[in-house]
């Protein structure tokens, strides 16, 4: 963090850091810290390794070994993954496709509606803007549990039960949290930006579309990543609205697999790993946005 210590008295630089690395080092504190960190990482990674090993185990070998094996060494039945993906009773390939359709629908809906509303709140002056913004904040506090049943009855009545629509359409009407997040970001652009464009004769739509929206990509990325993860991992929504095996999502597929798998632990673990992979991939690509997004949310508290 601080690199320049030249201007300070000679004794200070040692003591000023939050954690005094110099004294720690003398005491072997660094070694202790590394040992603890490595132990924690082992606790995270070994179960994942165990799962990977179990997923590669053939049908006639128990996935439970004594003592537990944490990494694949003996068996490499990659076939288990294709079997899990194309099992006619529980086609995880199809489940993934369904989940992807729902997730992409939600991403499009969220980006569309939230950026529109955020633009109005961040950069337009209109009567009632303060009241509406307060309403937006209050809606963040509305617990979705009470909405679950009336929304179900609504969608059931208009014939959307058993379709993806109830899982996608609401995202096109915005999400208070993401509107807030994007609005905060859009407020940081200088005001002259819009005014210069206005002078040049650009309409509000044009300003939004060609100036504000491109500048907001970092905030939109956070919304996209969170929406994807939220939808990919969503169990309750699909459980309520979907009733046909051909429409199921990975979360439901996995939940059903647990109760019906019997002793097919290897295929269950293969399906489980397949479910985790998109999240892991996204995590590594969008780590900065994800952690930055979460952290900024935390600091606003």
């Amino acid at each position: 963090m601080q690199t320049s210590t030249t201007a300070q008295p000679t004794r200070l630089p040692r003591a000023i850091r939050g954690v005094n690395i110099y004294r720690w080092r003398r005491r072997g504190g660094v070694v202790l810290a590394y040992v603890t960190l490595l132990a924690l990482c082992a606790v995270i990674l070994l179960p994942l390794g165990w799962m990977f090993r179990a997923a590669l185990t053939p049908d006639d070998v128990s996935v439970f070994t004594i003592p537990p094996e944490w990494f694949p060494t003996q068996y490499w039945y990659w076939d288990n993954f294709t079997r899990a993906l194309s099992n006619p009773l529980q086609p995880f390939g199809l489940y993934m496709l369904n989940t992807l359709v729902i997730a992409v629908g939600n991403i499009v809906g969220t980006v569309f509606s939230c950026s529109l509303a955020a633009y109005a709140f961040a950069r337009l002056r209109f009567r009632g803007s303060e009241i509406l913004f307060n309403v937006l904040i209050i809606t963040m506090l509305i617990p979705w549990q009470v909405l679950m049943i009336p929304q179900f009855l609504l969608f059931q009545r208009i014939g959307w039960y058993g379709t993806f629509w109830p899982l996608i359409v609401p995202s096109f009407t915005g999400n208070a949290f993401f509107i807030f997040l994007i609005r905060q970001y859009m407020r940081t652009f200088p005001r002259d930006l819009d005014e210069a464009a206005r002078v040049d004769g650009a309409g509000y739509w044009r300003i939004f579309r060609s100036i504000v929206l491109p500048l907001s990509v970092p905030a939109l990325t956070v919304a996209v990543v969170f929406t994807f993860l939220g939808q990919w991992n969503n169990l309750l929504g699909p459980l309520i609205y979907l009733n046909d095996n051909s429409q199921f999502t990975v979360a439901i597929g996995l939940a059903n697999f647990v109760t019906t798998a019997g002793t097919q632990w290897n295929l269950l673990m293969a399906a489980n790993l397949i479910t985790m992979i998109p999240c892991i991939v996204i995590y590594f690509f969008a780590q900065k946005q994800l952690i930055g997004g979460i952290a900024s949310v935390g600091l606003k508290g």
Binding site: A15, I44, F112, A117, L153, L229, F257, C279
Partner: protein
């Protein structure tokens, strides 16, 4: 020009305004009314006043079981996750080589699907064959707990499993830690405060807003456990209803049994219960949460 701007603003807000009425305000009003009816979609709704609420409070064993399970989970998990998250974040805040790798790994579980994580731990916690009990046996614990099969251990198992994702909370603390001005540590060091005293009198007070945020979100989340309970205990709450979390019970009443009126009443009771706990927590805030001079926070 101003009128034009106003018209544009409302056009931009149109999708959100539509959702506000169609998917939020409408359903909320419907939910209040529904909670005072008996309705299963087939028969016509029958107005019953407050008797749904009366029934759950005085004549519903499973409701009280769901309350017990949920409160037990909250009492065990919320303080544990707060302390563990803080401890991990302090570790991650050290300026050591390779720290980014450690941060990446420790945060990883919190992006994984709760369902998939629960499936993994279901196998690891298998009482006879699971890796956890094998390790326990190998270090001399002859009779390790039955974990999810043992009603007494079921909720603690869920709590311990959640520790696996504690890095998610730690990242928020970490941002809080890095926001503490170095001048504060500097001043404390000049006054002769050692590392422990600086932690106690600088780090902790400056971190209380973050602690408070994590406490509130932790409480809200703890009232809403569903996915993990559904996987670990099954749709109906597990052995002797030991994992009948409130939301799982609500889901069962509503979507398995089709008692939509009663389920709506259950939803409102959950909201009231959660609101009471959260309001009490907010009331305590001015006694222990320290906000620096910035009045916009909190």
């Amino acid at each position: 020009m101003a009128r034009q701007e106003e018209r544009a603003a409302y056009l931009f807000l149109l999708p959100w305004l539509f959702g506000l009425f169609a998917f939020l305000l409408g359903p909320i009003i419907a939910s209040v009314l529904l909670s005072m009816t008996n309705w299963n979609l087939i028969t016509t709704p029958r107005w019953v006043g407050l008797s749904n609420y009366h029934q759950m409070l005085f004549d519903d064993y499973e409701f009280w079981q769901a309350i017990r399970v949920t409160l037990k989970y909250i009492v065990l998990s919320v303080p544990l996750y707060l302390v563990a998250g803080l401890a991990v974040s302090l570790l991650l805040n050290l300026k050591l080589r390779g720290m980014n790798v450690f941060r990446t790994i420790l945060y990883l579980p919190s992006v994984l699907s709760a369902v998939a994580v629960a499936v993994l731990w279901l196998t690891l916690l298998n009482p006879d064959l699971g890796a956890v009990n094998q390790i326990l046996r190998s270090v001399g614990i002859a009779n390790p707990p039955g974990w999810l099969n043992d009603p007494g251990w079921a909720v603690p198992s869920v709590v311990l499993m959640g520790l696996w994702g504690v890095g998610g909370g730690a990242i928020i603390y970490l941002a809080g830690l890095q926001n503490i001005g170095p001048h504060l540590y500097e001043a404390a060091a000049i006054d002769g405060a050692g590392a422990w005293k600086r932690f106690l009198h600088v780090t902790i007070p400056m971190l209380t807003p973050t602690l408070f945020f994590n406490l509130i979100t932790g409480l809200i989340g703890a009232f809403q456990v569903f996915d993990v309970a559904y996987i670990l205990g099954g749709p109906h709450g597990g052995t002797s209803d030991a994992l009948l979390f409130y939301l799982l019970y609500l889901w069962n009443v509503g979507f398995s049994e089709g008692r939509f009126g009663y389920a709506s009443a259950l939803a409102w009771l959950l909201v009231i219960l959660a609101a009471i706990v959260i309001v009490i927590t907010f009331r305590t805030a001015d006694r222990w949460v320290y906000y620096e001079t910035d009045p916009t926070k909190g």
